[in-house]
């Protein structure tokens, strides 16, 4: 029994290991350890990754087994380690021998430089190197298996004694300071106030770079709140959200820049026009998709987003949109004759935008419109049966979301003084969707958290830049499997106190939690 589990896990672990090596993660680990912990060379990081992968393989193998048994655990760990080690060793053998025969593998596999492979062979000939990495993986897998077996036994003993497993939230609440703050509304407000003050004075101390980045996070917060209205509150999966962002940005650009149209309107005039046009675009987009099913809605909106991008890039409309090169010298806001278009002032601008967006979203959430949206999201037919005119509310959702996107787009274009078709690729829509989903659909703090995690974190972890989108995609998949309601889920209005087993369900919109039959 342990053997089969071990072999299966070993195969999976081998694929993962070889994959990570092929995309160069081992070198990344080496670089990270060098720059963060001042490790002198890069091979410690590389081998740390190898060991961790072995530990994981052994641990997973044991985790798959229901019955506790040291013999089986070690058998599983050993077999997983042997399979993983053998396959990874074979792969290394291949790579090393080909490289040592003089072929530069980088024409095929861009990460497989001499240095990259040498980090794994440690200067040994191919065969000993394969043996070494195999051995390391085997030992790590055994260790991982032993550790996991121990932890599972501890856990089983706890359950046998009748102790309940404690969630992270509960454990945090046990800390007296946290409990006091979270229960006392006054202290919550004070904390919020302190936070606001910090935000207000921050730009004076942060340099240009961080002001810009925080500003970008803020823009994505506004975008996230807007998409939150469409997806989270109304339940309409919009994958072409970037189109409204583009409308706002291009409106601002084309109205204030000297180039394509020589209009050179003031920023303050162009901004509301941009928002208005975006809202109109939202309604126009909403009309054809009113009756479409969820999946089709997603694809059609995606198509719309791409259409806007292709049109703005096309040669044929260059006279109108500025073509593939975009629009330069976008106007800045001017206050009392002074050009305040730098990162510093824009930070406050964006902050005001964020606060407005939060206020609008909260008001909508607790209004008739918000309740209509929630009803539509849970079950459209029932909502219609209850007398909600879904047409109107769907269009309203699109318009509101689009307006927020238009606002962000206009600010974005003005701050960069430039905008072009490359700013509006599909990835932007997916970024915003991801931060809404990862943060928590329909939840305002969730969206803000999502924006910080998905936009702010990569800025801090600059070395991971190449792998950002990869992690992103994996994160989406993992989040859906592990925690579909997001990091900070919206709380559902409760009519009665929830029973303990319903507690987890209470946190998420039905969209993400229910669905046993007929799905």
């Amino acid at each position: 029994m342990g053997l089969r589990t071990g072999i299966r896990t070993g195969l999976i672990a081998a694929i993962v290991t070889i994959f990570l090596i092929l995309i160069g993660v081992h070198m990344l680990m080496g670089r990270l350890l060098q720059s963060w912990f001042y490790v002198p060379a890069h091979w410690p990081g590389v081998w740390l990754m190898v060991v961790l992968l072995g530990l994981w393989a052994g641990s997973r193998a044991v985790g798959q087994m229901k019955a506790r048994s040291w013999g089986n655990a070690l058998l599983a760990g050993a077999s997983a380690g042997i399979i993983q080690g053998a396959l990874a060793g074979a792969a290394l053998y291949l790579l090393a021998s080909i490289t040592q025969a003089g072929v530069d593998l980088r024409a095929w596999l861009t990460q497989m430089s001499q240095e990259s492979i040498a980090a794994l062979t440690l200067g040994l000939a191919p065969l000993p190197a394969a043996g070494f990495i195999g051995g390391v993986l085997l030992v790590s897998a055994l260790a991982g298996a032993a550790w996991r077996e121990w932890r599972l036994r501890v856990h089983a003993a706890r359950l046998a004694r009748g102790e309940r497993t404690v969630s992270l939230r509960e454990r945090l609440l046990e800390i007296p300071a946290v409990a006091q703050v979270s229960s006392n509304p006054l202290s919550r407000r004070v904390l919020m106030g302190v936070f606001m003050v910090l935000l207000l004075i921050a730009p004076f101390f942060l340099g240009q770079y961080w002001n810009y980045n925080l500003g970008t996070v803020g823009i994505y917060v506004i975008l996230g709140l807007g998409l939150n209205i469409v997806v989270g509150m109304a339940g309409l999966l919009d994958l072409g959200y970037v189109a409204f962002f583009a409308v706002g940005a291009y409106t601002m650009a084309l109205l204030t820049a000297p180039q394509p149209h020589h209009i050179q309107m003031s920023f303050w005039l162009a901004l509301p026009i941009g928002v208005l046009l975006a809202a109109i675009a939202g309604i126009l987009l909403g009309i054809p998709v009113l009756r479409m099913r969820g999946d089709y809605l997603a694809i059609v909106t995606l198509g719309f987003g791409e259409i806007i991008r292709i049109l703005s890039k096309s040669d044929v409309l260059t006279g109108f949109t500025g073509g593939p090169r975009g629009v330069r010298n976008v106007g800045h806001p001017v206050l009392f004759g002074k050009d305040i278009g730098n990162e510093f002032y824009f930070f406050y601008f964006i902050l005001i935008g964020v606060i407005l967006a939060i206020i609008i979203t909260r008001r909508l959430e607790h209004s008739r419109v918000g309740r209509a949206w929630r009803a539509m999201r849970e079950d459209e037919k029932v909502a219609q049966a209850m007398g909600i005119y879904t047409l109107k509310y769907k269009l309203m959702a699109f318009a509101m979301g689009a307006a927020m996107a238009g606002f962000s787009g206009a600010i974005f274009a003005s701050r960069n003084s430039f905008t072009g078709p490359e700013d509006f690729v599909l990835l932007v829509s997916i970024n915003v969707l991801a931060l809404v989903i990862v943060g928590g659909m329909g939840s305002i703090p969730g969206v803000i958290l999502g924006a910080f995690v998905l936009k702010g974190l990569p800025e801090i972890l600059r070395e991971l830049e190449d792998y950002r989108v990869l992690v992103f995609g994996a994160l989406l998949v993992v989040m859906m499997i592990v925690r579909p309601q997001g990091l900070w889920p919206a709380s559902r209005p409760q009519l009665e106190r929830p029973r303990p087993e319903e507690e987890a369900l209470e946190e998420a919109p039905a969209e993400l939690v229910e669905g046993e039959v007929g799905s």
């Binding site: 861009t110 259409i307 049109l311 047409l391 989108v469 990869l470 995609g473 499997i481």
Partner: protein
């Protein structure tokens, strides 16, 4: 209150409402506008005699070829949708990986001279490599990203699919780089070489790669049709598509059937990827995105869940996309825009597709 009078009032009111609705008026209006636009532009083109007969022929032929590739990819989408009611967003990426697998094999063959000595065998093995790798990717995709989400509401697997798609694109970019790679066709099957027809006095070429693409696509379509209609696995697939619970009760291993469906759709995508590489030459990590989207459009166009529909939709979309810029007197750069426009129009006017959907369960 006179009950009889009240109820007769309700009856007439109901009948009146069914006749003309706002939605119907809107659709009629939009439809008329679109038709008018088409007619106006087409008339302009005809009047100017902007394109000679040989251009139309050339466009039609290239549309047919690309349409057959779309059809093969669309079959993959429709198979998965029919069983799981989800759009396999990562299908385009599965095709891309197949194209890359074929690329590496073909490169090795070209370097060793095998392509020159045994072109037929080389091409065959290339296809096999592409199809196998794509099949494995398709199966892993299902296992990792979709199976754990089997019972979840529709939004969840959709987002997981988007995540998987992004992941695969970027994994390919990290592993193989972002540069465009060119397929090294065997000398016997070079691109842009073929027979030359004479139409209205001007030459129109039909390339060897084009013929291969079209022929192989037809073979795959026929093969799939036979598989679904005549084999046990096909019967099991149809059963699971019709009603998962009932099929399970009748002894069908639903998990296996779903895995097999993904395997088959992977094989088809891989074949399409290799065909794309052989015919169009250039592949890169993003190559699966737009064809994937268009193939989905084709599947919807033909009727989602409907296998002949996917084939028809693919061919129709290919030809339409090829001819539309010429018919409507628009620049060819906007080809993709027109393909998306087709999607939107189909979903507004005939959401069930040309041949109708084949989904037994009422979609919630």
């Amino acid at each position: 209150m006179n009950v009889a009078a009240e109820s007769s009032k309700l009856r007439t009111a109901r009948v009146k409402e069914r006749k003309v609705s706002l939605g119907l008026l809107l659709r009629l209006g939009i439809g008329l506008l679109v038709l008018a636009f088409f007619a106006y532009r087409f008339y302009g083109v005809l009047a100017r005699q902007a394109y000679g007969a040989e251009t139309w022929a050339r466009l039609a032929i290239s549309g047919l070829i690309i349409g057959s590739v779309y059809a093969v990819i669309a079959l993959g989408y429709t198979l998965v949708y029919g069983i799981l009611f989800m759009i396999n967003f990562a299908h385009g990426e599965v095709m891309m990986i197949g194209a890359f697998a074929g690329y590496f094999v073909l490169e090795a063959f070209a370097a060793s001279g095998f392509s020159a000595r045994q072109p037929v065998l080389a091409i065959l093995i290339t296809f096999l490599a592409g199809m196998t790798v794509s099949m494995l990717v398709g199966i892993s995709l299902e296992r990792i990203a979709y199976r754990p989400l089997r019972g979840a509401p529709r939004l969840v697997p959709l987002i997981s699919a988007i995540g998987a798609s992004i992941f695969l694109q970027n994994a390919a970019q990290l592993m193989f780089g972002s540069m465009r790679r060119t397929y090294s066709n065997p000398p016997a099957l070079e691109r842009n070489v073929g027979w030359v027809l004479d139409i209205a006095g001007k030459p129109v070429s039909i390339t060897y790669t084009g013929v291969l693409t079209f022929a192989f696509s037809v073979v795959l379509m026929i093969g799939l049709y036979l598989l679904v209609q005549r084999t046990r696995l096909g019967r099991a697939m149809r059963a699971v598509a019709e009603n998962k619970e009932a099929a399970a009760l009748m002894g069908v291993d639903v998990d296996r059937v779903i895995a097999n469906t993904f395997a088959i759709s992977g094989v088809l995508a891989g074949a399409a990827g290799v065909m794309w590489g052989l015919h169009n030459g250039i592949i890169y990590h993003y190559v699966g995105f737009i064809p994937g989207l268009k193939a989905f459009t084709a599947a919807v166009l033909g009727g989602i869940g409907n296998i002949p529909g996917a084939m028809l939709g693919g061919i129709v979309l290919g030809i339409a996309e090829s001819l539309a810029p010429a018919v409507l007197d628009m620049p060819f750069q906007l080809k993709d825009v027109l393909a998306f426009a087709v999607l939107v129009l189909v979903l507004i006017f005939r959401p069930t597709g040309i041949l109708g959907e084949v989904l037994a369960e009422e979609k919630v």
